[in-house]
Symmetry: C2
Subunit: 145 residues, 2 copies
DNA sequence: TTATATAGAACAAATTCAGTCCTATTGCTG
DNA sequence: CAGCAATAGGACTGAATTTGTTCTATATAA
């Protein structure tokens, strides 16, 4: 089906929502509010936020008035960062992700090199979009060479 | 995990193998031979070949001395063709594939437009590689602007 | 000290995928 | 014409992955 997981999908929405809501800098947002704003069930939001926090994209603050905040500027966070944390290494085939030598056909494989090229393009596309660009509606996103 | 299915993965390998083996034009290759050459179990190869045939990428020939042959020139078959047939429409998120109006958040969704851009890049990468380029080893595939 | 919010792991249900098998149909060949 | 070889198509099973929930522990503000 060539989809990323729903967790990663939600993760991107959540991060975008956070970036957009962060009017006063260092303001923390709690899981409950995010759940409402993003229309995603609370337990799921919690799970995703924890993972993103562990991955270093968010910083957390416990206790009353606690919550989460972006760990870096929105312009320093890419879509690839988010997906990698929630879904593991990005790659269209197992062989492009597996360590060298893991596949026994490596020497004679007719598709290894082409896949690496395609994979790099996909990675570039994901790395090329930052959270900041994503929420900046004045930016014409649909321009292309 | 953001992988395509193994079926699609195998499908690309099989098509590449077919294109490479087709020394005498219109020679048909049967499933058994392909299974051996590509190191993929016979029943699975059969399943994939049937699907590719239904998808219009191969033509089949039944009976003794039967088999499969490419329906078009290798330069007219792209990786996207193969994957679309075996895995359905390519898209990283459900919303980029779903018909307009299927998602209730469409109007206010912060990530819809960015995803469409990324998706188009992925599609371009897959459409930009033909079977012919894939098996032409003299072609330096790793060149990039 | 108490209420609030996250940390982290464990868990059950649902979905998807991989791989196999079986029967029908087509066409060659003796 | 009979028999064999190969694909067509679908059904089926077991495994793996994913989803979404729940529970307990820990930190912190008031
Ligand atoms: S299938 Fe593993 S290297 Fe090509
Ligand atoms: S989540 Fe459906 S349009 Fe954005």
């Amino acid at each position: 089906m060539i989809r990323m997981s729903k967790l990663a999908d939600y993760g991107v929405v959540i991060m975008a929502t956070m970036a957009r809501e962060r009017q006063p800098l260092d303001a923390t947002v709690n899981a409950r509010d995010l759940s409402e704003k993003a229309h995603i069930p609370l337990p799921t939001v919690g799970k995703i936020l924890k993972a993103l926090c562990r991955g270093g994209l968010l910083v957390s603050h416990r206790g009353p008035r606690g919550g989460y905040a972006l760990a870096r500027l929105a312009s320093e966070i890419t879509v690839l960062d988010i997906i990698s944390i929630l879904d593991g290494p990005v790659g269209l085939t197992d062989c492009t992700v597996a360590p060298l030598g893991a596949c026994e056909m490596e020497a004679t494989c007719p598709v290894r090199s082409p896949w690496h090229m395609i994979n790099r393009r996909v990675l570039d596309a994901l790395r090329g979009l930052t959270l900041h660009e994503m929420i900046d509606s004045t930016n014409i996103l649909d321009k292309r060479p």
